[in-house]
């Protein structure tokens, strides 16, 4: 469902367009993480970008071109209910917690449950323990986090936006997994023109409860 455009001519490979949502409580360092990745800067006075809520990155993975669109989401509790509007139609989700903050890990668990319920197994999940530079103040055990990630079919990563650790790997890995998912998807659908029947509708307004996307491009919400 991720394939946006086929080759422009013979011999040109496909370009994948992926939407990745960034979820996590406030203060876990979502913004720092993505700014480090896209701008390679941390708490820098010279950051030129106007905003860090929507960032894009172009990648080339094994000859496959990928356009990554990273959607930041508001992490405050009061906006929690708006989650489904953000992560609809996304190919991947990065769930960030702060290793020094047990609560933020609990939040991640809630999101995982929600995402699996709404989007099923179509979406690639990454659970990210940020701020490993504060290892001494760790409150979430490595064992616990990794076991949990495995149990929900997500991958677990440790990062530090401050020290630029693990971020490159995180995104690269995620892209590879999303390409795989997209390819299996294509094969399953026979690469026919009907491929994006469910995916082409970017945003839908839901009245009461967020509607599962699996209803298939029908807008009688």
């Amino acid at each position: 469902m991720a394939a946006a455009g086929g080759g422009g001519g013979a011999g040109v490979s496909k370009t994948y367009s992926f939407k990745v949502v960034l979820l996590g409580e406030g203060c876990v360092g979502k913004t720092s993480l993505v700014l480090r990745y896209c701008e390679n800067k941390f708490n820098d006075k010279h950051i030129t970008t106007l905003q860090a809520s929507f960032l894009t990155k172009k990648l080339n993975i094994g000859g496959k071109r990928v356009n990554l669109a990273i959607w930041d989401t508001a992490g405050q509790e009061r906006f929690h209910a708006l989650g489904p509007i953000y992560y609809r139609d996304s190919n991947g989700a990065i769930l960030v917690y702060d290793i020094t903050d047990e609560d933020s890990f609990q939040k991640v668990k809630n999101w995982v449950k929600e995402l699996r319920k709404m989007l099923g197994n179509e979406i690639c999940l990454c659970i990210v323990g940020n701020k490993v530079d504060l290892e001494k103040e760790r409150h979430v055990s490595v064992q616990e986090a990794e076991t949990y990630a495995e149990s929900v079919g997500a991958k677990h990563y440790h990062t530090s936006a401050k020290q630029n650790k693990g971020i490159e790997e995180l995104f690269l890995d995620l892209c590879k997994r999303m390409i795989e998912t997209a390819q299996t998807d294509e094969r399953a659908k026979g690469n026919g023109p009907s491929q994006s029947g469910t995916s082409r509708r970017g945003v839908q307004i839901v009245d009461d409860e967020p509607q599962a996307q699996s209803t298939g491009g029908c807008c009688s919400g």
Partner: protein
């Protein structure tokens, strides 16, 4: 005396009140000085003339378009003629087909009027239909110009768009979701055909899709924006009322990271508000999206100036909510629905515009469900604000932009002063009441204390009389004493 001047003020010469045509009846400024009968005649004439003008314009445009196509076709013919004869055949086939389709849509007053034309002729106000056709014609001209650069593919797109429009016209009575689905299918099929059949690069396909959207939506807007078959209008009103009821929400309650005291920031806020309001005036979904994007950029600027760091979603969404509350954009739900239904899908799915649009949807959803908890207020405070019994305006005053009318500012300052005064007065009254109570209490206390003491040490008059009696008895005994010495006179 004042009566006199008044009378002079409204005095009008009798002749000015009569119909301009001189029929002897009184005229009316609403009818441009004509009487009702003459106005109707004049209006009919003007109407006829305008309809005539419209036909002429349509005919002229049609001629121009045909010429334009003929010349583009001619330019193409050069290199094409070298290819196989098969292709030649196909091309000429297409040529004839093209002419008929173009004719079908642009012939104004031929014998067999196509349905679309009949409808346009029927539209109630001639000036309105003229405006409509002018803009639509400009857009279709641009569209044709644009498609020329794509040669045969462009021609094909034009043809497909026309067929689509006709099909949409037949669907005009059906469910809006069906129409939306049909439009989305059209976008997709066209894009696929361009890519697979005409081998157009993805970037260019995107551009063509944008132009197609522009072309078809300019024509469809009137019929598919806030259609009567849906409850969009009702939703618009609900949202509008809701936002109005929430006029008291302050930036502090939403934790908006924007300091409007800074002139530059308040400037950005005003611009953002203008942009979001402007959205309603656009016809094409992409133009509407552009308004939202511009609004968002202004918000980011405001945040950046205030916080001196790039805005995250944690900052952006509350600010957008605040802007929407302040702006109360017209027909908000209709616009969102329209964009969702008819926008070029790839834009909404992953693009930057899509992100801002999603945030707007979130803002609206938040506003609809907003309660005491989401503003960190107690239920009581919230209901008091909602019912208008109280207003948190006081905090607001400090955050007012510098260019607010000084009179209004003074008024609010005075109101504040009055509130403070009344508070102080209340304080004094309370103090006085307390003092009074204290005094009463004190008297009571003293009385009680005295009473207690009296009870504890009752006044024993008996003993006192005994003592007295004793004293007296002593006195009695005193009698037994020898009489006092009497002065004795000694002879001497």
């Amino acid at each position: 005396m004042s009566l006199k001047t008044e009378r002079r003020g409204i005095h009008v010469d009798q002749s000015e009140l009569l119909c301009k045509k001189g029929c002897g009846y009184y005229g009316n400024p609403a009818w441009q000085g004509f009487c009702s009968k003459c106005w109707r005649e004049e209006y009919q004439k003007a109407r006829q003339k305008q309809i005539q003008d419209d036909w002429e314009l349509a005919e002229r445009l049609q001629r121009e378009e045909e010429e334009a196509y003929a010349s583009s076709q001619g330019a193409q013919a050069g290199p094409q003629s070298l290819t196989f004869s098969k292709f030649e055949e196909k091309k000429s086939n297409e040529k004839t087909r093209k002419v008929t389709t173009v004719k079908k849509f642009f012939t104004a007053s031929t014998k067999s009027l196509p349905k679309k034309d009949i409808k346009e002729a029927k539209s109630p106000s001639p000036s309105l239909s003229r405006q409509y056709s002018l803009e639509t014609d400009r857009v279709s001209k641009d569209f044709i110009e644009f498609l020329k650069t794509y040669q045969k593919a462009g021609h094909d797109v034009y043809k497909m768009s026309k067929i689509f429009l006709e099909a949409m016209y037949h669907k005009r009575e059906s469910n809006i979701d069906e129409q939306s689905e049909f439009t989305q299918d059209f976008y997709q099929n066209t894009a696929e055909k361009l890519q697979m059949y005409w081998k157009v690069s993805p970037d260019k396909v995107e551009k063509v899709t944008d132009q197609i959207e522009r072309f078809i939506m300019t024509r469809l807007y009137k019929h598919v924006f806030c259609p009567e078959t849906t409850d969009d209008e009702k939703k618009d009103l609900t949202v509008q009322k809701r936002i109005r009821a929430l006029h008291w929400v302050t930036p502090q309650m939403l934790c908006v990271p924007v300091n409007e005291d800074i002139a530059e920031v308040s400037d950005m806020v005003v611009k953002a508000i203008t942009d979001i309001i402007e959205m309603d005036s656009k016809r094409i979904p992409r133009d509407k999206l552009a308004c939202i994007t511009r609004c968002s950029k202004h918000i980011f600027n405001a945040i950046k100036i205030t916080k001196n760091e790039p805005a995250s979603a944690d900052d952006f969404l509350p600010t957008l909510i605040y802007i929407v509350l302040k702006a109360n954009p017209p027909r908000l739900q209709s616009n969102i629905q329209y964009i969702t239904r008819f926008c070029n899908p790839s834009r909404l799915m992953t693009g930057e515009d899509g992100y801002y649009f999603t945030n707007l949807c979130c803002a609206v959803a938040f506003i609809e469900k907003l309660d005491a908890q989401s503003l960190n207020l107690s239920e009581e405070e919230f209901s008091r604000y909602m019912s208008g019994q109280a207003s948190p305006k006081k905090q607001d005053l400090e955050n007012w932009p510098a260019d607010t009318c000084p009179g209004v500012k003074q008024m609010h300052r005075n109101l504040d002063l009055l509130t403070q005064l009344s508070k102080r007065q209340e304080h004094i009254v309370n103090g006085a009441k307390k003092l009074e109570k204290d005094l009463i209490d004190w008297t009571d206390d003293v009385t009680k204390e005295v009473k207690d003491i009296v009870e504890k040490y009752p006044l024993n008059i008996k003993t006192a009389s005994q003592a007295l009696a004793a004293l007296e008895s002593e006195n009695i005994e005193d009698d037994k004493l020898p009489p006092p010495l009497q002065p004795q006179v000694y002879a001497g």
